[in-house]
Amino acid sequence: MLAFIIKRLANAVFVMLSVTFLAFVIFRFVGDPVDQMLNEQATQEQRDDLRERLGLDKPFLLQFTTFVGRAATGDFGISFRNQRDVLDMISERFPATFELVLVATFISLIVGVPMGVITAIKRQSWYAETMQFTSIIGISLPSFVVGIGLILVFSVWLGWFPAFGRGDTVDLGWWSTGLLSHSGRMSIVLPALSLSLFQITLVMRLVRAEMLEVLRSDFIKFARARGIPARSIHFRHALRNCLMPVVTMTAMQIGGLIAFALVTETVFQWPGMGLLFIQAVTFVDVPIMAAYLCIVALIFVVLNAIVDMTYAVIDPRLRGAEK
């Protein structure tokens, strides 16, 4: 058990190091940072001075280790464009992205689980088949097209929901939330829906597959033989056994959603980390790009590692399976 945890942690650290290396290579070699930070009239002395101050005159490996060391303490340097601390900029954008992902996950569970159950127990009915069929379409639709479609229908044509921005936010210490104001709640509907659509189909298909498996098992047959009503069998006995994989998949998907939210954020001009990143890409603001890559990868890797380790605790068969 301990060996498995250590191995899994080592793997996570290795992945993070590789990502940091990628971020560092981008940071170091996309354009010359000195050119980006000084204007064209700067003298050679000013340039050399800055180069020394940034540590760009040191050997490559030393620069990399300094970069890793600083990144580990959350110091990603200063944005080329805004001259502000990168971590500050990202952390003030984080609540927006996190709320969006949270609401999207909530929607996907609320909608996806019942749909999965229905398609599994009423497999032959027309509505189950329609749902199964539309789920292929749901998985295929590009998220940005869904977003544009939602804006076109619900903002431009019907005018029900705002098409961009986050509405009014309420500051709770270091966390700013849009969920406590009316305009904030109205604003999150469309982006969260468009982000959750793919997730809904994923949850639905997973629940359906798991339900079909469980419904075939002996204890369900026994429950039927005991004369327990169908409703109770489906929801209390069968569904409960399907929820574990749903929970793990949801947890693992949150990391992916945080990364993928950048597409949704671009469509809806949602002021989250992803929008910051995309703007940084257009202006080649490398420190922000590098920091965003590291932070999102960290969330992703940590979540995956936790899920894997919880799984190993619950299911002992997996501990040896790594071999």
Partner: protein, 313 residues
Amino acid sequence: MSDQTSGKAVPTRMERFWDSDLWWSFKSHKSAVGAAIVLLLVIITAFLAPVLSPQNPYDLAALELWNAELPPIWMEGGQMPFLLGTDVQGRDILSGILYGTRISIIIGIASVAVSLVVGIGLGLMAGYYGGWIDNVLMRIGDVLLSIPIVLVAILVSSVAQQFLPPAFREIGVAAVLVLAIAMYSWVQYARVVRAQTMVERRKEYVMASRLVGTPARRLMVKHILPNTLTPIFVAATLNFGLAILIEATLSFLGVGMPPNQPSLGTLIRVGNQYLFSGSWWIVLFPSIQLCILVVAVNMLGDWLRDALNPKLR
């Protein structure tokens, strides 16, 4: 369901195909047949774009500003030959879509081809030789799969475009996109081929072949590879849809195809700016075409996965 085998003793390859389980399964799946027809139509019209489209959308001389922002033909103010209307530069939407689809399809096919070659090659090597080659390759794969794919593709594409010399811009951007997409998807093929190769390697026919002195490369390509192809075929179909999606997403975010060589994603990006000015057709029609294309590919892939799965027969 008519039996198409002739009375000949040895059926030809084509005849064997008409009589195969796969063809039978295809014929009995309405959605698969529908998807295949739609996909064929999309591909044919895309590659006949220069013949079919009323205007060459890349030819700036053909654009007339007084044709700008015309609505589709069935609406008031619509004009021939602009069936689906025009954008703000007077570019015909339909022509833009046909040319754009061609670019999207070409990038999709190219990235699947590149990742297939790389993935199969590396997977065969990892599975056949094992040892450190296997370790290194699979670790690289692990790392790539541990980072969200969109992020990697955006970074690779935007960074690589910085280094493109101006002379290569046109073709270079497409090549960069192909590599950015392939960089991720080869892992999947490599894993499948590797696992299958490790199984096949120990079988008697491979042993026998090795004993008579067949060189390793021939053994891998001629003997082992054909036995790993079925799952690869399914994965490649689904990945083709995914590749088109990723390309469209990158172009939409502004790190893909430039506006003078627009793919479907670029058209949607450009059209998105006019969403609020009432010219909804600029963004809607390219979006619909993209959805049709991806849905058709995925439905075919879905059917293929079930049809080739021996457990579901």
